[in-house]
Amino acid sequence: MIFLLGGLFLGWSLGANDAANVFGTAVGTRMVQFKTAALVCSVFVILGAIISGAGTTETLGKLGAINALPGAFAACVAAGLSVYIMTKFGLPVSTTQAIVGAIVGWNVYTGSSTNIKILFTILSTWILCPIIAALIAMFFFIITKQILRKSNWHLLRLDAYTRTALLLAGAFGAYSLGANNIANVMGVFVPISPFTDIHLMNVFTFSSKEQLFLLGGIAIAVGVFTYSKKVMFTVGNDLLKLSPPAAFIVVIAHSIVLFLFASQGISDFLHSINLPSIPLVPVSSSQAVVGAVIGIGILKRGKEVQWDIAGKIAIGWFLLPVIAALISLAVLFVLQNIFNQTVSF
């Protein structure tokens, strides 16, 4: 059970960092109070994790089937540490990229083969995710501009609507974050879960996977409450100064992208009408936000986008999985050779 702490640490850092992607601008501009944001974020992250977290977890499991708890612990610690190091450099980071790098590191260390098809699917989403987020943001930006032009709402009425919209979008975003990213936190523990299914009056079964997701969701919620406030107040305006309606568009674009890559229902529906189904892959919340912000920036003719910061962010995206893989190798070595732990079977 102590090895689950690695996942809980990763969950905590996901909550601390990624909650800012969902509620950062709303809280930073004081449109929504932090307490309200934290509560809504926590509840919906847990719901998303338990209800819809299975799909992305399965995909991550195919990348590398870590079959020992110490191995899973090492992957989570490596991912968490690399996220922490990059955060120290002030770069928005992706726990998804970190865990993928860490899992590949485990594969290399243990001599297990990496499923190249799955790896390429995941890598392609790192490019697709910000592009799709940008396109969705651009679409909503144009629609919202038209609505605002025609609506003649009083400035104060618009403020009230925007606050409500930010809260609802944030709830959806938190649900999508939980659904899409719980795989990063607890995915490596699913094949080797220490829990057993709980049957309640032969009516309801709380599976071991769901118990893991609940634990991971709670860890994310703790991260939100304990550390995300500072991050929320600093995120948002570095890349492009956003008005509250634009902030709403960014959150909704981010939420839709994460939901698309997590929803089994949408995937099955597309398959049923002979369209290519969207792979259920954990994608980066930060990348989605950056893509959405740049999409809006492009519609404003790119004048206000801080392209040098965008460049720094892109470099971070390439470096992070490499750093996570290297740390994973180091941690596995230490666990196996110094603490005599079995990192794989």
Binding site: N152, L156, S243, P245
Partner: protein
């Protein structure tokens, strides 16, 4: 908890919208009262009716001050419109200055009792009407800023037009005053009043220019 807070937010928003509308109404009404005060003074001098109207202007000015303070308190306490709050409060402060200028001019008439010869009275009435039209256009500009941002420029354009007309009328009247046979002290006294009335238009134009900048800042 969430729905109660939302209801309270929308309730508060509605109340604030009403207060801002009332403030702009006061600005408009004070202008119309000022026009009637100038007419009444030129026709009958200081009478009880004149004093009554000056008192009315003073009461409206106090109400406007109260509304400004209430709006400021609510906007800060409830952290409403965080990106436009400072612009809105600055706007209300400057509009309140115009109400103050109207009130000040009324008191100057009441205290100093300027003697406007018959040949200047029509010009003075015309100048007052231009100033009031200017401020009426400003009121429309303000309402557009809050409700119909694409019309801001249309109304602000009229404020500029009336301000230029006011400048022309002031210059023409001042020239007539100084070309007349009045003593220098009388000329200076009358010019003081005419200039004080004209300054209202200058302030209105400055505010209209500010509103156009605020409107650009409000773009999504």
């Amino acid at each position: 908890m969430f729905s109660f807070k939302t209801k309270s937010l929308f309730g508060q928003t509605k109340q604030l919208e009403k207060e801002i509308d009332q403030f702009v109404d006061i600005l408009s009404e004070v202008g119309l009262l000022f026009k009637s005060i100038v007419l009444a003074y030129l026709n009958s001098g200081i009478t009880d009716k004149f004093d009554e109207v000056v008192k009315q202007v003073s009461e409206m000015e106090s109400r406007a001050d109260k509304i400004t303070k209430e709006v400021e308190r609510t906007l800060y306490e409830e952290t409403l419109i965080p990106d436009s709050r400072s612009d809105v409060l600055r706007l209300l402060e400057h509009l309140d200055e115009i109400i103050g200028m109207y009130q000040g001019n009324c008191y100057h008439f009441s205290i100093q009792k300027p003697n406007f010869p018959k040949e200047f009275q029509n010009d003075l009435i015309k100048l007052s009407e231009t100033v009031v039209s200017c401020v009426e256009s400003l009121c429309l500009t303000v309402r557009s800023f809050f409700r119909d941002i694409k019309s801001v420029r249309d109304h602000a354009h009229k404020v500029t037009f009336y301000e230029k007309e006011s400048d022309k009328q002031f210059t023409s009247l001042a020239r007539k005053i100084f070309d007349s046979e009045l003593s220098l002290d009388q000329k200076m006294h009358l010019r003081y009043f005419v200039e004080k009335i004209d300054r209202i238009c200058d302030q209105a134009e400055d505010i209209a220019d500010e509103i156009q900048i605020y409107a650009i800042k409000r773009s999504i």
